[in-house]
């Protein structure tokens, strides 16, 4: 169900560690099976708080937060924070530098006129980066996503997220207003007809509050945030070249996740999930979804669609999305487009759009 994420984060690391010339090898490696790594099995119940922590027997996983924010000045802002673990070999979690996990984090802060981003890499095992399940703590250098001091439970209901670089910084308190959402079949998320899968859950019901600072100008902000957790060892198809992914907060409280996987040879593969305001989920199939680029711009020598028509026929949804900042380009290793969007039409609201492989 969430294969676009797998590709996104995993290939992000591979791309980060590789030039475009080595990309083929990277994907080639992923097309292999994952010997020595655990494969997700249906019917395995997720256990909390344990599953908030890392899963060293899987090859790859990530902790991902996006937030749509409004400043005290009335302007819109967005932030992204993603920590990614990639095991270079099975049983990668060891003491000291013998650890074979590589951690990577991308952070960005976006306004209508600015899109500032940074990335960090670190090795596991020495305490520079890592994740602990309870109390929940994810960190790389001074960037953190962790449990607030005023939190009482062992879950992820009350978190704080921080990232900062030379030009930007943000610190937000995240407070969940509904329980976490298990994706797919109780957290087992099928990713293709050929049986590839991952474990996957989300917390799309965060209230966010805090501050964001762009070029030293600090602003109080508040809004909504979305957290994704996914882990897998699954290989990918060799012909996938990129994807377009939407995470939408609908006015009224429902959430909508949609993606389109673009393939070199086959027709694009569409999938989605409708989460009502109470947290109940309904999978959406490809026939039900319409994703149509309306306008592209030239950015970093690539043509990137920034305005979309999005349809979910069974729900009567027909909207047009508009980026807060069309130039939300992540010039990281690898580079991709990711930024806050607003939409109008049959439904109103805001969300995040990620587009890779352009």
């Amino acid at each position: 169900m969430k294969d676009r994420r797998s590709i996104s984060r995993r290939s992000a690391l591979l791309l980060a560690l590789s030039s475009s010339g080595a990309l083929a090898k990277g994907f080639g490696g992923l097309a292999d099976k994952a010997p020595g790594f655990t494969i997700p099995r249906p019917g395995t119940p997720l256990v909390f708080p344990k599953d908030h922590g890392p899963h060293p027997d899987f090859r790859t996983e990530w902790w991902y937060v996006t937030a749509n924010l409004t400043g005290a000045d009335g302007a819109s802002y967005g932030v992204q924070w993603t920590l990614f673990r990639h095991a270079l070999e099975p049983n990668a979690t060891r003491a000291g530098w013998d650890d074979r996990n590589v951690w990577m984090c991308h952070a960005a802060a976006t306004s209508a006129s600015e899109h500032l981003f940074a990335q960090k890499f670190a090795r596991g095992g020495i305490g520079q980066a890592g994740v602990e399940a309870a109390p929940f703590r994810a960190f790389i250098d001074d960037w953190v996503l962790d449990t607030r001091d005023d939190s009482t439970g062992a879950g992820i209901e009350r978190l704080r997220v921080f990232a900062g670089d030379r030009d930007f910084a943000y610190a937000l308190d995240l407070t969940a207003t509904a329980p976490i959402v298990l994706q797919g079949e109780g957290g087992y998320s099928r990713k293709s007809e050929t049986g590839q899968a991952s474990y996957y859950f989300s917390q799309p019901f965060f209230k966010a509050e805090g501050s964001i600072s762009l070029h030293g100008r600090k602003m109080q902000v508040s809004g909504r945030a979305w957290m994704d957790r996914e882990w897998s060892s699954q290989p990918l198809g060799p012909d996938q070249k990129g994807w377009d992914w939407f995470a939408l907060h609908l006015d009224g409280g429902a959430k909508l996740m949609l993606y389109r996987m673009r393939s070199v040879e086959a027709a694009p593969y569409l999938f989605g999930n409708w989460i009502d305001a109470g947290g109940a989920t309904s999978p959406l199939t490809g026939e039900d979804i319409g994703l149509e680029p309306l306008e592209t711009i030239r950015i970093a020598d690539r043509d990137v669609p920034i305005r979309w028509r999005v349809q979910v026929k069974s729900r009567g949804l027909d909207i047009t999305t508009q980026p807060l900042n069309p130039r939300s380009w992540m010039g990281t290793d690898p580079a991709y487009w990711e930024g806050p969007i607003r939409f109008h039409g049959s439904h109103m609201g805001e969300g995040y759009l990620e587009m890779t492989g352009y």
Partner: protein, 822 residues
């Protein structure tokens, strides 16, 4: 322009007629340039290698953090800084032994290395970088390093401690002489778990002292980007030494050029006069001659620079090995020089040529068109010349005295030496003229009186060559005396320092304990002396701290320059240290003064109870009580030991230990082997000095030869009248030979006190400033005799060719002198 061209053509015809003269000029200029630029090439190569070593890891110009106490610091500090948002990358460096060779291991963390770092650029190659820190890892070494250590790509050599290196891969960017491995691999290979040597800061990292203190308290210190590397500082004196010798050789070479150009000027005087008489303006003459010099510079300078390159290539292995054994510096033996070096060599040749030709050019400018030779006027001219020389000599001496009185350090030491040599050289013709005047005064018989009078006339022509000879001889005596004195002192010092019969290094402290337990039970082993060591830094200078137990080996033999009466009791029972001479001089310490020693915990205040010589060590050294070392330095290596054993039992004990503790003992040597090793280091240190010294002497011999050749042409005019008056040709040739030999002997005699003074300057000023130790002053009369013989030999062979020509010249040639007198 056309006139200049024709003038040039007329002048250049001289070289066609006198190819020997041209050859000498080119040879002199080429030799001077070669020696100078060769030395510069060696220096540049070494400095490039130091820079490459730093830059290969950090990308160059990066600020770093190092321990403010002893050598290594805890990895936790790195994590703490990163967690505080400080962008730093860890490095661990150290040596491992593979077979008989020390190999530098540099551990890096590729993900956090600054982007500019050549190693970090590997991040763009996924296959390489993933292999680097997964699986068995990867060891990157430059192709040259692989060759030098005889290692193949993909090989996994075993260290003497029994650890396997990761598979090696060739990588041009790797620093010379080192194997770059992952930080974790390095910690394992070097047995330094969770320890780091330094942290490289990212270019845009703004960490300041206050912030650093708030995170790491005072455990780390900021090292500025432009702060010289330790290697640069340690090797500075070595390179200054080379430069001084290169310059000396260059100057001696210029004497040849001067002599050769002087000859050309003499021989072209008629041509010059004719050209002037034909209406060529002096400026045009000078312009033509300047063109000529430019062409000569290009030809000879170019050849010289190529010669310098060849010379540097020949000396490089020796230089590389002495820098390696002295300072642990790895010099790439692939001589690579940039365009700047080639141009500076040519510029130096040009400057030298102009300097050597200056007097000729000036004379040309002043040349009256209708002048005839004025032989009688030479006497007045000669006295003026001698007075000027004497005045300049006195001036040089006064400046030398000022440099000695007010100057400090190496530069002043070399200035005193240089100025004194110059003063002596300037004084040489004055002294010889005086001696000849005296000889003329007491001589009986016309031929004898002519001999002396004629000698005086010839002094000004020969004086430059004699000066060159004097300088070369004095340098030879001076440097030879210093080296020989050092050799003797060093030998005696080694004997006192290396008293124990067996020295070994265990693989790990635990192995050391095993060996120790075994050794206690051996009747042949009379004492087990642990020599544990730690590193610290005092006044910004790296210092090794050695532990000493209370034993006769030390109390009866350990050489001390100065000490309290009960030095050994004090050392073990009180807060007391022995300091090396270098450290004492650098920090202004003496017996009875206090020193604050940074330890693993806090500073330890101790009294200096003795100063010991520590020749050849670029670092400072402290000797403290063994128990205190263990207490104050957590990372003290517990693996070095000396053993006392009956000398006849030594080979058996060593063999026994090797068999019993194979793998647990990393190195074991007996006394004689260690002495041989140390002496080898010593010999290498001075191999280059000796080579340059010999080359300088050869150049001065050539200078003398060139000068005599110059004079022989002019001599005929002077000898012909004497021959006409009845002296035979062979008689005259004999007299000529005697005169040359007397001149050379005079130079050698003057060179002796001058050389002794130079030795004194070297041991008392230069060595103290450069290395921090002072040698006793030794005198070696046998060397002087050798130098005298060399001088006479050089003069003899130099005089032989012109004299044989004179003795064989047909009477008609001598008669012709009268027909076309200038």
């Amino acid at each position: 322009m056309k006139q200049t061209l024709w003038t040039l053509a007329a002048l250049a015809s001289h070289w066609r007629r006198r190819p020997g003269n041209l050859g000498m000029l080119l040879l002199g200029l080429a030799m001077a340039t070669a020696l100078w630029s060769g030395v510069q090439a060696l220096n540049a190569q070494a400095r490039n290698s130091y820079d490459a070593a730093t830059a290969a890891i950090s990308g160059g110009g990066a600020r770093t953090l190092g321990s403010s106490r002893s050598g290594l610091f805890d990895q936790d500090l790195f994590v703490k800084l990163r967690r505080a948002g400080v962008n730093v990358s860890p490095v661990l460096e150290g040596l491992v032994r593979i077979g008989e060779k020390n190999v530098r291991i540099i551990g890096v963390e590729p993900l956090s290395l600054p982007r500019r770092s050549p190693i970090a650029r590997l991040r763009s190659r996924a296959d390489l970088i993933e292999d680097f820190f997964s699986g068995p890892g990867r060891g990157f070494a430059s192709p040259e390093t692989l060759r030098r250590f005889n290692l193949a790509e993909g090989a996994q050599p075993l260290t003497n401690r029994g650890q396997r290196l990761p598979p090696l891969a060739a990588l041009a960017e790797a620093p010379p002489g080192a194997i770059v491995v992952d930080i974790g691999v390095a910690q394992h290979l070097l047995d330094r778990h969770e320890k780091l040597s330094r942290l490289i800061m990212a270019d845009d990292e703004t960490l300041d002292e206050a912030r650093l203190k708030s995170i790491a308290r005072d455990a780390l210190r900021l090292v500025a980007a432009n702060e010289e590397s330790e290697l640069d500082r340690l090797t500075d004196s070595f390179h200054l030494n080379l430069t001084a010798f290169g310059f000396l050789a260059f100057l001696v070479g210029l004497f040849i050029v001067h002599a050769a150009y002087g000859l050309a000027f003499e021989q072209r005087l008629p041509t010059l006069r004719t050209l002037r008489a034909l209406g060529v303006a002096p400026m045009h003459l000078v312009a033509a001659m300047a063109w000529e010099i430019a062409v000569l510079t290009l030809a000879a300078g170019g050849a010289g620079v190529i010669g310098g390159y060849t010379l540097a290539r020949a000396l490089l292995p020796d230089v590389a090995r002495s820098l390696e054994s002295l300072y642990g510096a790895q010099i790439s033996e692939n001589l690579a020089l940039d365009a700047r070096w080639w141009f500076s060599g040519l510029a130096m040749a040009g400057a030298g040529a102009v300097l050597a030709a200056a007097s000729g050019l000036l004379k040309t400018l002043r040349l009256p068109p209708l002048s005839v030779s004025r032989p009688i006027a030479w006497r007045a001219e000669h006295y003026r010349y001698l007075r000027r020389q004497a005045a300049l000599a006195v001036l040089a001496l006064v400046v030398a005295a000022c440099a000695y009185g007010f100057g400090k350090g190496l530069a002043s030491g070399f200035a005193v030496i240089g100025l004194t040599l110059l003063a002596a050289a300037l004084f040489l013709p004055v002294g010889l003229a005086g001696a000849l005047a005296l000889g003329e005064h007491v001589a009986r018989g016309p031929l004898a009186r002519w001999f002396f009078a004629d000698g005086r006339q010839e002094i000004s022509g020969l004086s430059l060559a004699l000066m060159a000879l004097l300088i070369a001889l004095a340098a030879n005596i001076g440097v030879g005396g210093m080296v020989e004195g050092f050799r003797q002192t060093f030998g005696r010092w080694l004997d006192a320092r290396l008293v124990a019969e067996i020295y070994f290094e265990a693989a790990t402290p635990a192995d050391a304990q095993d060996v120790e337990t075994w050794a206690r039970k051996q009747p042949e082993i009379s004492a087990i002396l642990p020599v544990f060591r730690a590193k610290t830094r005092i006044g910004g200078w790296p210092v090794d701290v050695f532990g000493m137990t209370s034993h006769e080996t030390y109390t009866a033999h350990f050489p001390l320059l100065d000490a309290e009466p009960n030095v050994w009791t004090a050392l073990h029972d009180q807060d007391a240290v022995l300091v090396s001479e270098q450290l004492a001089r650098r920090l202004g310490l003496g017996v009875g003064t206090m020193i604050d020693v940074p330890t693993s915990h806090e500073e330890w205040r101790a009294r200096v109870v003795g100063v010991f010589p520590d020749y050849g060590n670029p670092k400072g050294q402290l000797r403290i009580d063994h128990e205190k070392l263990k207490r104050y330095f957590d990372d003290a290596s517990g693996i070095h030991y000396s053993l006392r054993a009956a000398p006849e039992a030594t080979p058996r004990v060593i063999e026994d230990m090797q068999q019993r503790f194979d793998g647990k003992i990393a190195r074991i040597v007996d006394q004689s082997e260690l002495k041989a090793l140390s002496t080898e280091v010593f010999e290498r240190t001075f191999a280059v000095t000796t080579a340059l010294n010999t080359l300088t002497l050869i150049v001065s011999g050539v200078a003398l030869f060139a000068s005599l050749l110059t004079l022989s042409g002019m001599r005929r005019a002077r000898i012909a009248p004497v021959w006409a008056l009845g002296a035979t040709r062979s008689q005259l040739a004999g007299l000529e030979m005697i005169r040359v030999l007397v001149f050379a002997a005079g130079a050698a005699v003057l060179a002796t006190p001058l050389g002794l003074f130079m030795t004194w300057c070297l041991v008392a000023i230069v060595n103290v400033a450069a290395f921090g130790w002072r040698l006793p002053f030794h005198v070696f009369p046998a060397q002087w005799l050798v130098v005298l013989l060399i001088a006479l030999g050089a003069a003899f062979f130099a005089a032989l060719v012109p004299l044989v020509r004179l003795a064989r010249s047909a009477p008609t040639e001598l008669l012709r002198v009268f027909s076309n007198e200038r």
